[in-house]
Symmetry: C2
Subunit: 380 residues, 2 copies
């Protein structure tokens, strides 16, 4: 247990570190390793996300439309398709990153036909993602999601819990109904993923109740992999299954998604401390104010530096606006920011390595790479 | 909307009413219709429940054993297999009525082989039942379940919600992994059932916030069918699917379980007002004290009698121990008790009719009938 910051740093020194620019780290997917993939087109990810939205939205609307009235209402609100009063809304159902990964993986390991066959699986993954958001918001007492009041704060806890339950059932129904030969294996993977997501959220809520100094870096990394990496990995694995790939390629795609997910979480945590509130939608330093045990903070606390001692003292005291800059500086001086960025680069390198194993042709891997690069860069 | 008590009574007058005895209504399954089933052996249900427990317990223990530590701990506690501190407990995982229905249906429409093949489906139904119990207890803020503190009151709301989520995933994983040819159709039915259970619980919690006078009898009947009937129906339907039955027999078995479930709920509501606290585990009149909009109460309120007016006044006032007897008497005088018992008999007659359609041989139908008779009689 208790992987120390120094050890972790050592593990990453033999890998290429991203060069910091004025805007933050260099886009991770563009590192030019020997025989590595070509730099992705910056517009490719946006186009893949739009095309994924076009494929899954009709599936999602049909699935949600089949729900009984009161549950349908909560789901339509949560997906941004209705206002709280039931009138139509422009829609802001999220970026469809997970469905886009399913489709891109099916395309990379198969082709256009395999991509076309994976629409239901893509919608199922998106339903699972949204079921966990509905439940997490209840547990975390979060009041804002996608710039709107959370479902539980509008409709009450029971309706949000029940709609989440129904979305999980809908997701697995979509897969079960799918006549594709991969649907059974996909169902088993997706249910395993749900259990891992639940374990990750359990670990997260349990950590909230502990002192920051008691939490080890290993614990936070395992939690982040379960909460964020597992579903991105599952999305990629489902795409591979729908392409009819052998087990080892399915596993490599799962690992690719997991590592990219961890890279995303690390960058997201950096943004949660030093980010631009206009782009993140939350005030700079919000994670520090909430005393969140984010990856850079726990790494900083484990560094054994004088700044770590100061950070521990600040975290043990109630939040004071005056201390915010000092707290952020302590995380940085203790090496938390550098560690997180090096770790993110390391995870991204591992992701690219896994992808290259299953998809050796750079042209075929391009879509997945563009999406991975997008999720890690969008928060910079 | 608003089916009146009188109308409902009229619909039931042409059917056989149970004769009241000193102990309550006559066991419903023993009515001797022309060509109807033979009276079930009173020990048969107990034996079927014990045999079902023996089949599903190893499946349930294996499934729950596969959960990550903190979720496993909550599940083992909820099933009565561990104390809150993690030490082994004698176990009181409930009566296994739903798994017994799956197995009895597979046996009735198939035979011993079909029964043996339906073990996983039986465990899946029990996992779904327990997932809903975990979540319902959170929403209803219930603090006692099976004579022990509820999981959320011991482990906190997040752990109870997440363990419920994981049990739903486990249930559908069990079915997906099952190589039986019926497993896909069973998954679709079980996910549809989960959605109906959620709708039923949603309706129930929404009704709690309304005045008793605003709630119609139709609404309560629909809610009770969704909350109680749907899963009993699904259990029977899954057994029929695993027996390879044609769609019409699967539907008949579903209807059998639903009607028996409603009969059970009606009798359970009668007990909630006039029952023996030593047998029900809750004080007599508890439902009235909690101002529950149970079926006999809503029927009484809709009766248009002077007693209905008195009952409405009592329900609109805060609970006073002195008024408890008067309230129970008002429900009885307004016809709520007689209506509920006649309705229960009517539902049971319909259940038997549906069963006879799919399983004409009385010997084959005996097990299902014994279980239906057990669930409705056990609360008398």
């Amino acid at each position: 247990m208790g992987e120390s910051l120094t050890q972790t740093k050592q593990r990453t020194t033999d890998r290429q570190r991203p060069t910091r620019t004025a805007d933050g780290p260099r886009p991770l997917g563009t590192q030019e390793d020997d025989g590595g993939p070509v730099p992705p087109d910056p517009h490719e990810a946006t186009s893949l996300l739009e095309r994924a939205r076009a494929v899954v939205d009709p599936e999602l609307r049909a699935a949600i439309g089949s729900l009984p009235g009161p549950l349908r209402r909560v789901a339509l609100y949560h997906f941004g398709w209705q206002h709280a009063d039931g009138t139509p809304a422009a829609g802001n159902a999220g970026k469809a990153i997970r469905p886009a990964l399913v489709l891109a993986a099916a395309s990379a390991l198969g082709g256009p036909e395999e991509r076309a066959a994976a629409g239901r699986a893509a919608a199922a993954v998106e339903l699972v993602h949204n079921f966990t958001l509905l439940h997490d918001d209840v547990m975390d007492r979060d009041t804002t999601r996608r710039h709107r009041p959370t479902a539980w704060s509008v409709f009450g806890e029971p309706d949000a819990i029940l709609t989440g339950d129904a979305l999980q059932a809908l997701a697995l129904r979509l897969l079960a109904e799918d006549p594709h030969p991969a649907s059974t294996a996909a169902t088993v993977r997706l249910t395993d993923c749900v259990i891992e997501l639940c374990a990750g959220q359990q670990a997260d809520t349990a950590m909230e109740r502990r002192d920051a100094g008691e939490v080890t870096l290993d614990e936070v990394l395992v939690m982040a992999e379960a909460k964020t990496g597992a579903l991105l990995g599952c999305a990629c694995a489902l795409g591979a299954l729908y392409a009819g790939s052998p087990e080892e390629d399915v596993e490599a795609l799962d690992a690719f998604g997991r590592e990219a997910g961890l890279a995303f979480q690390l960058i997201d945590d950096v943004i949660g401390i030093w980010g631009d509130p206009r782009r993140t939608g939350k005030p700079a330093g919000a994670d520090l104010a909430a005393r969140k045990k984010s990856l850079p903070v726990v790494a900083a606390l484990a560094s054994g530096t004088p700044a770590a001692v100061e950070l521990a003292e600040l975290y043990a005291s109630p939040y004071d606006k005056e201390d915010l800059e000092r707290t952020a500086l302590a995380v940085e001086q203790a090496g938390g920011r550098d560690w997180a960025q090096a770790q993110a680069a390391d995870r991204m390198a591992r992701a690219i390595h896994e992808l290259a194993r299953a998809v050796p042709r750079p042209e075929a891997a391009g879509g997945l790479l563009a999406l991975a690069e997008f999720v890690t860069r969008r928060s910079n």
